[in-house]
Assembly symmetry: C2
DNA sequence: CTCACACCTCAACTAAGGTTGAGGTCAAGC
DNA sequence: GCTTGACCTCAACCTTAGTTGAGGTGTGAG
């Protein structure tokens, strides 16, 4: 039983949930987070424009690529404000995700190599293992490993 | 200034943090979670066996592969209890992670393909997009896609 | 008119992987 | 003998991506 007050171009949150397969609570959440928007009818109920479905498709697809919502939001805010986005607008974002995906693939492939010469052989060396010690600060200050992780500036004396 | 009470084989949590680059709070956390263990000295301070460093190397390397701590913990519990693990013991686990990595790479490569024919071209179609609609329930009961996500039961019409 | 169901808001809870802070102990150095 | 620094515990907080529940409103059908 459609609640009847919705037209071809205005969907209730329940209808949008039904059509997108995304839960009502997630749609509320996406609106709160600024990924989608809605107007309200006389009874304060949300009414979504039909093109919202396309945004949701983009959100879901992006999440599957591993993009965090905050980044998806930024990308969506690059879409034109005044008009409904065209295929070309979406394609720009799609190419960006493709680049991200390719970098991820390359990183995993490098890790697969590292794994072969690291845990794979059982050595698990702090000096040599690229997985454990990506920076490879090996042998800089006498014997013993220094750091496991990249980007940590100093031994972080933990002022505990 | 090493606090002096530690021997070659027994490290304080601070020394372990220093050598591994893992924060003291994370080491506490790993111990609480059962990934590493320690004994205590007379003053109730933790003393870690030297081989703990190797477990930490394994933990860090596994995390970089994307394995959750709970799974890493299970793997660590498969190591022999009585003796210090040998290279061969670690290698067994390493081969398992390699399989995981390869599956991840394959999945990302599939997604890259899907992206090319989906957002990449700008269509973002709920009917055709494998990223948006991985199950592809397309054309089962008349025109239109059914669901965005897997596992949700009812079909729906798709006027976009 | 009443029922039921869709909708509303707001707060609290979930999971993972920790971090931060309060309050207290222990041992070394001056 | 006091201070300092490393250590201890426990509880609360952080982020991400939402879910769950309480309590209240709206609306179409019978």
């Amino acid at each position: 039983m459609p609640r009847g007050r919705t037209s071809y171009d205005e969907w209730s949150v329940g209808q949008l949930a039904e059509r997108s397969g995304i839960s009502v609570s997630a749609l509320h959440f996406y609106e709160r987070e600024g990924l989608i928007s809605s107007s309200r009818n006389a009874g304060n109920q949300r009414r979504f424009a039909r093109h919202t479905l396309r945004r949701l498709a983009f959100i879901r697809a992006s999440q599957r690529v591993g993009i965090p919502l905050a980044t998806i939001k930024e990308a969506l805010h690059e879409l034109p404000e005044g008009r409904t986005p065209r295929e070309a607008d979406w394609a720009v974002l799609g190419r960006r995700w493709r680049t991200v995906l390719e970098q991820q693939i390359e990183q995993l492939q490098r890790m697969r190599e590292d794994l072969s010469t690291c845990i794979g052989c059982g050595c698990l060396s702090f000096q040599r293992c690229l997985l454990v010690n990506p920076d490879d600060e090996m042998a800089k200050e006498g014997p013993g490993a220094r750091r496991l992780m990249p980007g940590t500036p100093r031994p972080e004396r933990e002022p505990d």
